[in-house]
Amino acid sequence: SQTIHQWPATLVQPVGSPLSLECTVEGTSNPNLYWYRQAAGRGLQLLFYSVGIGQISSEVPQNLSASRPQDRQFILSSKKLLLSDSGFYLCAWSAGTNYGYTFGSGTRLTVV
């Protein structure tokens, strides 16, 4: 069966520090991969999505970037965090737009 792993679960980082969140999927090949951010009590904002290795589409201009170095690995990065980067970051995968998304358990990032 397919599983998705996302870590760390919580993270407290100072302003200006770098960020690297990793997401891996097991049990499937060539998944669509997504990074979402959710502010407290708010909806889900799509940050990046990828339909294949090295293919990244950005939805929101910001100081974040994403990479897909391997088929089932999706990484969210920042060189310098801002206070406004705080939030709940969720990775998700799907077999395509005609299939449901499976979300990771998320990372709660607090920038202080």
Binding site: G43, L44, L46, Y49, N98, Y101
Partner: protein, 109 residues
């Protein structure tokens, strides 16, 4: 661009009462999905609707896709405390789908 709005934003109901959330799109959707997010958790896929006018049921939950494929609804009969959470619709048809704004359901025991 495509926008998906949900109403209401919040709903407080007495346990045992019914609950409905509505999802409206500015464009025709090829499909619509529904998700539930428990407080402190991550969204969990509930169901997908594809056909115009489609109705699907999961126990006390009834999902409907509009004839024009621009709107959808989720109805919960006789709510229970386990129904607490935020319900999101998501629609689209290309590489990415657009999440609705969500409806947060709270239950008064």
């Amino acid at each position: 661009g495509q926008q998906v709005m949900q109403i209401p934003q919040y709903q407080h109901v007495q346990e045992g009462e019914d609950f409905t959330t509505y999802c409206n799109s500015s464009t025709t959707l090829s499909n619509i999905q529904w998700y539930k997010q428990r407080p402190g958790g991550h969204p969990v896929f509930l169901i997908q609707l594809v056909k115009s006018g489609e109705v699907k049921k999961q126990k006390r939950l009834t999902f409907q896709f509009g004839e024009a494929k621009k709107n959808s609804s989720l109805h919960i009969t006789a709510t229970q405390t386990t129904d607490v959470g935020t319900y999101f619709c998501m629609g689209g048809g290309n590489e990415k789908l657009t999440f609705g704004t969500g409806t947060r359901l709270t239950i008064i025991p």
